[in-house]
């Protein structure tokens, strides 16, 4: 037996289907209310009294309205400003160009002009990527950017070494005297084109530039003295300074002799 029915006697499939159909019909017909036999009670209708109160019309204040009208947010119509001379110039230029491009010659020029511009842009991009300097092709030497030297620094060509050295020696400021003497030597070497004076160069750069062997040894010793006295801030006695001075004078003499030879 396939189905075990709750109602005795309904033992086959057809009987079960019939029972389901009956239940469905009963539910659709109203179910329990039908079963109880009572009709639904209609809801009572209440009538409300009509509103008799007087309506007071409130108008916005005229001053407030004027204030709103003045505000930019309430101005829906854009007032065009009058064209000035510059705008009229551009307008005329645009009109002229439009007229020009309407002609057959203008149309052809425009068409090929765009192509030419595109080709030029492409060539520029390729040259830029390959880092090719085309300025050399026109015989122009590449410009070297000017160095941002501090303008407050001393210019050895403008210093009055005689006065400064005499003053430093007289005051017993031998450290400063050594420095001024060394700068004077650098000036002399520059004036004779034995070194190329550049503010960013170190003393040893100048030493490397000196190709004359005899001068090199003397300059090396002067550099050593200057470095110990200036950078090393070693105290100098009058006797020690006298030795430094003699060495400097000897080097300057050698420089003159070398020049004469």
């Amino acid at each position: 037996m396939l189905y075990q029915s709750a109602i005795p006697g309904l033992t086959n499939r057809r009987s079960a289907k019939g029972l389901c159909l009956l239940c469905l019909l009963w539910l659709l017909a109203g179910g329990f209310p039908l079963a109880s036999g009572k009709a639904p009670t209609p809801a009572p209708i209440y009538s409300l009294p009509a509103d008799q109160s007087a309506v007071i019309l409130r108008k916005p204040r005229a001053a407030r309205l004027r204030e709103f009208r003045r505000q930019r947010a309430f101005q829906y119509i854009q007032i065009k400003s009058e064209q000035n001379a510059w705008d009229r110039f551009w307008q005329r230029l645009a009109n002229w160009l439009q007229e020009l491009l309407r002609t057959p010659v203008g149309r052809i020029t425009w068409k090929y002009g765009v192509y030419a511009f595109m080709v030029a842009a492409l060539v520029f991009a390729v040259l830029k990527l390959l880092q090719v300097d085309v300025t050399k092709a026109f015989g122009r030497a590449p410009k070297r950017a000017a160095l941002a030297y501090d303008t407050t620094t001393e210019n050895i060509h403008a210093l009055d070494f005689t006065a400064l050295l005499t003053e430093a020696e007289a005051k017993g400021n031998y450290r400063l005297a050594v420095r001024l003497g060394y700068l004077f030597v650098l000036k002399q070497l520059t004036d004779r084109s034995l070194i190329q004076w550049q503010p960013d160069k170190t003393n040893h750069d100048y030493l490397t530039e000196l190709t004359t062997t005899q001068l090199r040894a003397g300059f090396q010793e002067l550099t050593r003295q200057f470095e110990y006295a200036w950078y090393g801030e070693q105290p100098l006695t009058a006797e020690q300074y006298a030795l430094v001075r003699t060495a400097r004078l000897g080097f300057l003499h050698q420089l003159t002799s070398n020049r004469a030879a």
Binding site: Q131, L147, A148, Y149, D150, T153, F161, T162, L165, T166, E169, A177, R179, G181, Y182, L183, F184, Q188, D191, R192, P199, D200, K201, T202, N203, H204, G218, E221, R224, Q225, E227, Y228, A229, W230, Y231, G232, E233, Q234, Q240, L243, V244, R245, T246, A247, R248, L249, G250, F251, L252, H253, Q254, L255, T256, R259
Partner: protein, 353 residues
């Protein structure tokens, strides 16, 4: 004679045209009593010995060796960069051998964790407590091989130890044994499987040293040594030259180097210029100024001077600044290198004299 000055007796700017021969002879031999106020004998001897020990194996690379010695004296870490096969690791290993201090090596890999470097706390059941087990970073000379193979997470673990020389784990701070020096090697970032080091990490290295290819003559010498089988024998024969105490003593000497105030300004202007240069997206930090100063003091000592000169600053500027600056994208696309920008900056600043 071209001088405009007269009165040779009193004026020391006058170029003497006719000094007596005997006086002239004496001026050529004149040497003042200038000399170093600090005794650098021990330092010079140690530096020479280290150069000799390294020179047994390393062919050429004199600049590299000088910069490494400078870093030891300046208490700084070094990043060695070069393509594979240019003896980066070998150089670092040999340098560590010349110092009689604890040495460790960490091979950085992509899966390395911070605890693999710093150490970790492990539970001891018999004591019923956690015990800190120090990682390989706890040594005096630490060779981090291929540092840019590890990701940023592991790199970050090195920040504290490299800058402050201590490690904090579970609320406890462990101080490193001095000297503490990290020697890291890396392949250029364009290589496969590498990460760019964070800027904060790079800033902690005193120098970044490029190791290039040897010259043909040097390569022949390398081949001759290898062919004769000298390599491995020499490697084990490298002797320790300096102890930890000696290194500390030499560093103290270096700290007392004299620096003229104008040179401090010179250093500050160089570093400051990196922050304003139009080719640079990121300039160097004040830590770079300190690095340049410390490096210059150490280099001056190595060169036998007790004071710093502009040459020292200029010589070290590329090694100190090249890893601390970032080029603008336009300059990078044009193929400009940080070294070129540093050179330009040096050209724009007057040497104090």
């Amino acid at each position: 004679m071209t001088s405009d000055f007269s009165s040779p007796d009193t004026d020391s700017t006058t170029i003497p045209s006719a000094l007596p021969e005997n006086e002239l002879a004496s001026t050529n031999k004149t040497e003042t009593s200038f000399g170093s106020r600090t005794d650098f004998n021990q330092l010079q001897t140690a530096a020479t010995a280290i150069r000799q020990e390294l020179g047994r194996i390393i062919v050429g690379q004199q600049e590299l060796i000088e910069l490494l010695l400078t870093a030891i004296l300046a208490n700084g870490h070094v990043l060695l960069e070069g393509v594979p096969g240019v003896a980066k690791t070998l150089t670092a290993k040999l340098l560590a051998r010349t110092l009689d201090v604890p040495f460790s090596r960490i091979q950085f890999t992509p899966d390395l964790m911070p605890s693999d470097v710093l150490g970790t706390s492990i539970y001891r059941p018999n004591k019923a407590e956690f015990e800190f087990r120090p990682g390989p970073i706890f040594a005096s000379v630490v060779l981090i091989d291929e540092i840019n193979r590890a990701p940023a997470k592991t790199q970050s673990a090195l920040f504290e130890v490299m800058e402050e020389h201590h490690v904090t784990q579970d609320g406890v701070t462990y101080t490193m044994q001095e000297p503490f020096m990290v020697l890291a090697t890396q392949n250029p970032v364009e290589q496969e499987g590498t990460y760019r080091l964070p800027e904060a990490q790079l800033d902690r290295f005193l120098f970044k040293i490029h190791i290039g290819y040897p010259s043909t003559e040097e390569e022949v010498t390398i081949l001759q040594g290898h062919h004769a089988g000298r390599g491995s024998a020499m490697l084990s024969a490298v002797q320790a030259v300096l102890t930890a105490e000696q290194v500390a003593q030499l560093r103290q000497q270096v700290q007392q180097q004299h620096v003229e105030p104008k040179l401090l300004e010179y250093i500050a202007r160089i570093v400051g210029q990196t922050r304003a240069h139009k080719s640079l997206y990121l300039g160097a930090s004040p830590r770079a100024s300190l690095a340049l100063l410390n490096g210059a003091k150490a280099l001056a000592a190595l060169r036998g001077r007790d004071f710093v000169t502009p040459e020292d600053v200029q010589y070290l500027a590329p090694a100190v600044l090249r890893h601390r600056i970032l080029l603008t994208p336009e300059r990078e696309m044009e193929g400009t290198t940080p070294d070129e920008v540093v050179k330009l900056i040096l050209q724009q600043i007057e040497v104090p004299r």
